[in-house]
Structure formats: C-alpha cells, structure tokens
C-alpha cells in the first residue's frame, strides 16, 4: 500500500520512445480586461520523468505559463496556441470536464506557501483525501489509510496525528510536505511546482528540494518555476529563461547556468549574491579556528578603515520573552560607525525582535542597548524621541510601511517637519536623487511604483533624518535578484559616503555575505557564532553555521 504511494510504475519506457506529456507551441496568454499580454509565444515540451525549470523575475510570465498548462491561467485569461497537447489530448478542445480530469490526475500543483495554499480551515488529512475522492483513486474505505501512506511517503513523521491537524499547527517544512502529498495523491505524471521553496528557510528548502528530486527519481516529471537560479540548478535538467512573456534562452541546466548565451541570463546570474562554500577541507577549517580568538569583538578588516573605538550602537545581554518563549536570549553586539554588522538566522531565530530592540521599539526584559555611549533602551519614550532620527529602519516590504494614500514626496518629507515647507520639497528631491530616483516620482503613490523603486523610496525616507544607524530588516528579500543587487549597491554607496553604521538582518546568507564586515549567526534567540564575515563564511566554527552554509543551493561551476 505504501509502496503504491511512493513510486509510479517503474516500467516507464525510455524518454525517447514516449510521447511528451506536454507539448505547447506559440502559447499566448492575455488578460483582455487589463490589456496585459502575460505570455507572448512560448513553446515548451516536457518528456515523461523530465525536470524542466522556468526561470525569470516577477512579471516574466512564468507562473501564468505553468498554470495555463492545467487550464488555470487566471480569471478572464485568453489562452491561444498553435499546438497545445496536454496528457495526450488536444487542450485547445478541452472543456471544463476535460480540464478537471487533467488537474490532479495528470498534473499536481504545488504552490509557494502551504500556510495559505492548503485551506487553513480544513485538516491536512481532509485536503489530501479530497484528491483521492475527486479522482476516485481508492475506494472510500481505503482513503484514510492511503492518506497516511502519502504523508509517510513525503517524510511527515507521525502521520496518525498530522492528518487531524490544521496547516497552522505544522511547521513550514511539514506543511510544504503535506501540500506535496496532496499534489501527488492521484499519482500524477507531472508535478508543477511554483516557487515551492521560496517561503522556506534554507535548511528546510534543501529538504524539500531533496523530496522533489526523489519524486523525479521515482519517475514523475517536474515543471519547476522559480526566481532562484541556484534552486533550479539543484533539480532541473533543462532550463527555460523567461523575460516579458518570452523564452529568451533554453537549454540543459548546466549549460544555461554556466555558459549563458543571452545577456539577460548573464545579468541574472551575475546578480545572484552568493555565499561562498565553506572550506572544503574540514581539517584546515579546524586548524584555522584554533588560531582565531573567539573574543574578536573588534572588527579586523584588512581593506577597511580602522574601526573607531566607541561603538555607535551597543547591546549587552539582551533578553526578551514572549510568554514562555525566549525570542532573544542574552544577545550582545557592538556596531561601529561605517561598518556593517550582518545578522543571519532562520525564521523564529529572533532577528526581527533584535531589530525592534535596536530601534527602541521594544524594551528588553534584561540587558541594555546604548546609543553613542548613552542610554537608549532604558530611556522613557519622551526622552528617546529626540534621539530617534539617529536610528532609522528599512523594512522588508515598504508597501506595508508606507501609508498607501501618501505621495512619495510626502513620505520622504515626513521626517523633515523641522524645515520650512519650500526647503522640504528641495530636500525631498535631493534625497530621491541620492537613491537614484527622478523628481517626477514625487507625486506618485507607493502602489504606482515598482518593488525596487519602493525600496529606494524607503531608503530615501530613512536617510532624510541623517541617521547614524540604519537597521535593515530583510531589505531585499521581496525583490528580484537584479533589483536586489542594485539596492545592495545603493546601501553600500550610502555607507561609504556617510559613514552610516548598518545592522543588516537577513535570512539570505548570500546577501549578508555581500555587504557585511562582521556577522552574527542566530539560532533560537541566541548568537551561536560571531566574527569577521569572511572568517564565518569560509571557516564556520559552529555546527549550525556549517549546516546553514551547506544547505544553500549553489550555482554549478
């Protein structure tokens, strides 16, 4: 019984003999209501057991392409193609009934975040059983047993308990596994995975990628959609790079990712901020550890300016508990002018709580934060407020931290209330100029800006009060890689000009590595490793840091 759930018929014929599962030529998807042409002539074929990846930035049309293959391009979508064969049938003639037979049975869909991609009001078991019932995979009596077997097959421990739980009661990794279980319940020949690991921590991402690779090894074809080239490299055999609704480059993954032909692919690859591999020889890393003093609180940078003696922002023994859970537990750090202190860790490690402590938005249960050697966390709000301009924040999603009704001009000028009105506008234009935005944007509202422009506006607003410390909490996590690189470059530039100190928080080791002088690695509210960025990334001492680094998917070559 379990066997059935794990593997497809092993006697699959060779890929050359079998007809492709999906064969599409000149696929065009448009949304007449909004006048958008999302896909403008894509050709794609997927052979049985093959893993094809669609790569591109947001708005490239990759998701729409993939969803069009199961007739779910979106409400009001107009789909045309010269050839459109799905699962051996001519999809151009499919009515609702035929599409429903394709969905779930021929192709299973795995979306980004199982917290919202599984119905949050229903149990995990009910969600999986729904597929079994819809396609009458097994008789009703056998369904509970099959659901358990499926959960077991995707590596969910204790399936007896899990079937009765709701998505919010499962960890991110388990949820995603359950979502995959529901996608493969009717033993489809194709899994369409749309950003299946984007919402996950890197260690969990590695597990889910392994699981998908296992499915592929068991004979299921995989269409993987991702913005992350390194993730794609881990599983895909063939890669299609999409831009503006067109495929700009296509070929074997190894070739495309190592010797790209198209400029856009090259730009994408160049923009990936990568974390270096940890030293391959464990012996050398051990020996180097012994030579480095663990109490290296003062940054040693060969190329950087000598660090000033007094830190701008310093924390000692910070602890905060939410209920019985210690979100931050005995954390100390020092941040010097002109340097970047990176903070890495997975979700729940206490990074954001640390940011709130540093901003003086949260009072620590124990420990203290001091600003320029004076008190900060201990001050009453009334006395802290005059000092606030010195410590500014850049949040992950500026759309949430902007008032959507305010114009860019008003947002940026918000901290400038001390200036006369006329001067305020001048300064706003000046600030926009610094972050590389034209003054025409002053009258726009956040929704009318692209993701990269929004983050630039957020930076301009943070700079308005000439801060000494910038706290960046996942500032580029919501951005495409090419935009990421630009924003990171801008932050580095500002730091070099103003000598601003950056507390740079991210789950993305590559991004942190890119910008940081020193790094704190956090786990469960504690700092498990701290030191010079190069040192931590090349010769990690703590087992958890090593695990993190090992889990980062890498580009070949």
């Amino acid at each position: 019984m379990t066997e059935l759930a794990i593997t497809r018929a092993a006697a699959a014929p060779g890929p050359s003999a079998a007809p492709p599962l999906v064969a599409v030529e000149d696929l065009r998807v448009s949304f007449p209501a909004s006048g958008v042409e999302a896909v403008r002539g894509v050709s794609l074929s997927i052979a049985p057991g093959e893993c094809v990846a669609l790569v591109g930035e947001s708005g490239s049309g990759k998701s729409v392409t993939a969803r069009a293959l199961i007739g779910l391009a979106g409400p009001g979508a107009k789909v045309r193609a010269s050839v459109f064969r799905v699962g051996g049938g001519d999809a151009l003639t499919f009515g609702p009934r035929e599409w429903r037979r394709v969905r779930g049975r021929f192709a299973g869909l795995v979306l980004q975040d199982a917290l919202v991609s599984l119905d949050p009001l229903r149990t995990v078991g009910a969600e999986i059983a729904e597929v079994l019932a819809e396609h009458d995979v097994v008789p009703r009596r056998a369904r509970p047993e099959r659901v358990r077997a499926l959960l077991e097959a995707v590596g969910v421990p204790d399936p007896e308990t899990r079937v009765r739980q709701h998505p919010h009661q499962l960890s991110g990794g388990l949820r995603q596994r359950a979502l995959i279980a529901s996608a493969i319940a009717a033993e489809p020949e194709l899994i369409i995975a749309d950003e299946p690991t984007t919402a996950l921590d890197v260690t969990v991402q590695a597990q889910i990628l392994r699981l998908l690779a296992d499915r592929k090894a068991a004979g299921t074809a995989l269409l993987m959609i991702s913005h992350d080239l390194a993730v794609v490299a881990a599983v895909a055999g063939r890669v299609l790079v999409m831009k503006d609704g067109l495929v700009v480059e296509e070929g074997p993954a190894r070739e495309v990712l190592t010797t790209p032909r198209h400029d856009y692919t090259r730009a994408l690859l160049a923009a990936v901020p990568s974390a270096p591999r940890p030293s391959t020889s464990s012996v050398s890393s051990v020996s180097s550890v012994s030579s480095v003093s663990s109490a290296s609180a003062v940054p040693r940078r060969a190329d950087g300016p000598p660090a000033p003696r007094a830190p701008v922002l310093a924390a000692t023994g910070l602890s905060v508990a939410y209920g019985s859970r210690r979100a931050v537990d005995g954390v100390s750090f020092r941040l010097y002018a002109g340097e970047t202190l990176g903070v890495v860790g997975e979700s729940g490690s206490g990074k954001t709580t640390l940011a709130r402590l540093a901003l003086g938005l949260l009072t620590p249960d124990a420990g203290e934060v001091s600003l320029r050697g004076g008190p900060w966390s201990g001050l009453p709000e009334r006395r802290r407020r005059p000092l606030r301009p010195a410590v500014q924040v850049i949040a992950q999603n500026p759309l949430d931290s902007f008032d959507p009704r305010h114009t860019v001009g008003r947002l940026v000028a918000d901290p400038l209330s001390a200036l006369p009105r006329r001067r305020r506008r001048e300064r706003a234009v000046e600030l926009l100029g610094r972050v590389g935005l034209p003054p025409e944007l002053l009258g726009r509202r956040p929704r009318e800006l692209s993701g990269g422009q929004r983050q630039r506006v957020a930076i301009a607003r943070a700079l308005a009060s000439r801060p000494e410390v910038l706290i960046c909490d996942e500032p580029v996590s919501a951005l495409d890689v090419s935009i990421q690189a630009q924003v990171l470059g801008l932050l580095a530039e500002i730091q070099a000009e103003d000598g601003t100190a950056l507390l740079f928080i991210s789950h993305d080791l590559g991004v942190v590595r890119h910008l940081s002088d020193r790094v704190l690695v956090m786990k469960d509210g504690r700092v498990v490793e701290e030191g010079d960025a190069g040192e931590v990334f090349h010769h990690p001492r703590h087992a958890y840091t090593k695990e993190l680094l090992a889990a980062v998917p890498r580009l070949p070559g």
Binding site: S58, S182, A199, S450, H507
Partner: protein, 342 residues
C-alpha cells in the same frame, strides 16, 4: 504591467518572522494566569454578567433620575389610588435607604422577578411571556429568510458573469436602503390587497408570518449578501482555492468546500448583530402587520409610560444580546480552527 499579472512574486521569504504571527508581548504574573481551557469561558461569563448588571443599573438609574416623584413615574398613566401607591412603596422599598433599595432591586432580578406593571395590574413577566413567542418566531424566521436568501444569491453570483451579479447587487442595494415599513407596505399591497395570497394582519396561522418575515428579512439579505459575496470572491482568489481547482475540483465544489467557510466568518458577525437589531425592528413590523409581540408591548408601554415593563424590556434585550454574542463566539470557533488553539 506587473501589477495586473496574476504571477505572484515571492513576497515573504520568512513567513514565521513577522510580528503579527507572534503572541502580543503581554506580560502577566505567572501565578495569576488561568488555565487555558478555563480562561475563555470564565472571561465570557464574567463579561456577560457585567453587561446584564450594567443594563439593569442603567434602567434603574433612568427611573431614579427621571424628573418627578419615583412613585408617580411608576404609576405612569395608570390608576392612581392610595392602595397602589402603598404597594409601589413597599415593593420598590422606597421607604428604605438608597443602597438597600438598589440591592433589593438587583436581588429581585436575580430571582427572576421582573416586577409588576401597576397599569395592567399584572406581573411584568406575565405580560411579556405571552408576547415573546410571536416575536421570537418572527425574528428567527426573518433571520432565516435573510441568511438563506443571502447565501443563495451570493453563491449563485460570486465570481460569475457580470450581468446576474449586477442585477442582484442592485436588488440588494434597494433592499438595504428602503425603510422596512415601505417594504412592508409594498408587500401588503401586492400580496394581500391585490393578490390576496396572504392575510393582512394577525398571527393566527403560519401564513400570516410570511409577509412580516419577508419585510424584516429582506434588508438583512441585502447586507449579508453583499458581505458574503465579497468574502467568497476574496476567498476564491486565495492560493488554497487555486490548489483546490488544481486537484480537479469543479468551481461549485471549490465554493462549497473551501470558499464558503472563509466567507462565513464576517457574515456570522453580522448575523448576530442583525438578530439583535431585528428585535428592535419588530416594533414597526408588528405594528404594521397587526401582530402581537414584544415590539407592540414595548411601544404601548413607552407611550403609556409603564416604566416597569420598559425596564424589563431593556434587561431582556441585554440578555438576548449577551446570549447571541456567546453563540457567535462558539460559531467562530467551530468555523475557524485557528481560534481554537489560540
């Protein structure tokens, strides 16, 4: 161009990280915390008692603070004889100190004694008892009409083609914006006077319930329908609805098994609120359709200044609201498992 695309960008790289998912940083002394299972029911009960107490006290304060002699007020427009005055002074303890008077009033209420109407020369409980039945029947039928109509219309039109949706939207808007008595008069005119399908007044047979229930229920259906449809349409765009479609479910099954439950949450809140409001709306409807009921009794009591009856109605309404909100709370927990474990 990106804005209109359904393609989703990876917005949240660390979903468990935003502070919204965390319990608020509320710090309580560990010794004072009630066990989780006890916490909510106890808190509910305490607040329910507090609401009832506040209602009873407000009614009492209105009686005492009204200009003029309290005995005069309690007599109202009724027969004013020395015997009745003596009876009032004795029953309300008007010859005793204020505190004792107030406490004996509360004590009386605690025993379920709502006092006596000196105009009607009957116990208030007795006066109301005969009227509760018809009103509850009317209110519940109207609520049911509203809910069923709203559900049918919302499910039939959510995410469907433009025209039926527009027509239903307009109908809902009309039902909401036209005053109840106008709806009632139109219904009476068409179905009683012209067509003669339903009786003009009375509450004798079940047929007499149809028109008043419609008059009362249509505005509810209007508002509820809009809320439900909006909820359904939002739910149908969520990733879990996409997942459900990708399993091969038909659109009807996606609505019934997935979207509807999500849309119900805000609708349940409204339904509870409406059921309370319906009790008040019953005044007009009952008068218009010549039905017996609490609404008419209240009207009569107010216009005849029969204070004991009015006070009892205030307390009764508070009790109804408290009960409804307790039921709502239960309904939320049934619908949304995330509230159970929280």
């Amino acid at each position: 161009m990106t804005a209109a695309l359904p393609a989703r960008r990876p917005t949240t790289a660390t979903p468990a990280e935003p502070p919204a998912t965390r319990p608020p940083a509320r710090r309580r002394l560990p010794g004072l915390r009630a066990p989780a299972w006890l916490g909510t029911p106890v808190r509910r009960l305490v607040s329910a008692v507090a609401v009832l107490w506040a209602a009873a006290t407000t009614a009492y304060a209105a009686l005492l603070l009204a200009p003029g002699d309290t005995v005069d007020i309690l007599v109202g427009d009724g027969a004013d004889t020395p015997e009745i005055r003596a009876q009032i002074v004795a029953e309300w303890g008007l010859d005793r100190p204020d505190a004792v008077r107030y406490l004996s009033y509360l004590g009386r209420l605690l025993h379920g004694d709502l006092g006596r109407s000196y105009q009607l020369q009957r116990d208030v409980a007795e006066v109301l008892a005969g009227q509760v039945g018809p009103t509850v029947r009317l209110t519940l039928t109207a609520a049911a009409v509203g809910v069923v109509l709203a559900l049918v219309l919302a499910v039939a039109t959510a995410g469907r083609s433009v025209w039926p949706r527009r027509i239903v939207s307009v109908a809902e808007l009309v039902a909401v914006s036209v005053p109840q008595f106008v709806i009632g008069i139109v219904l009476l005119f068409v179905f009683s006077f012209s067509l003669g399908w339903f009786p003009v007044s009375g509450a004798a047979d079940p047929q007499a319930l149809v028109l008043p229930a419609l008059a009362l229920g249509l505005p509810v259906a209007g508002v509820l329908g809009q809320v439900l449809r909006e909820g359904l349409e939002r739910a149908l765009e969520q990733p879990f609805a996409v997942t459900a479609r990708a399993r091969g479910l038909g659109e009807r099954a996606v609505v019934a098994r997935h979207a509807l439950r999500h849309a119900l949450l805000p609708a349940v809140t409204l339904t509870g609120w409406f059921t309370g409001v319906l009790l008040g709306g019953a005044v007009i409807t009952e008068t218009l359709f010549g039905r017996p009921g609490l609404g008419r009794v209240t009207m009569q009591a107010v216009s005849a200044k029969d204070m004991p009856v009015v006070m009892a109605v205030v307390i009764l309404s508070a009790a109804v609201y408290v009960t409804i909100s307790a039921l709502l709370d239960l309904a939320y927990r049934l619908i949304d498992p995330r509230l159970r474990s929280a």
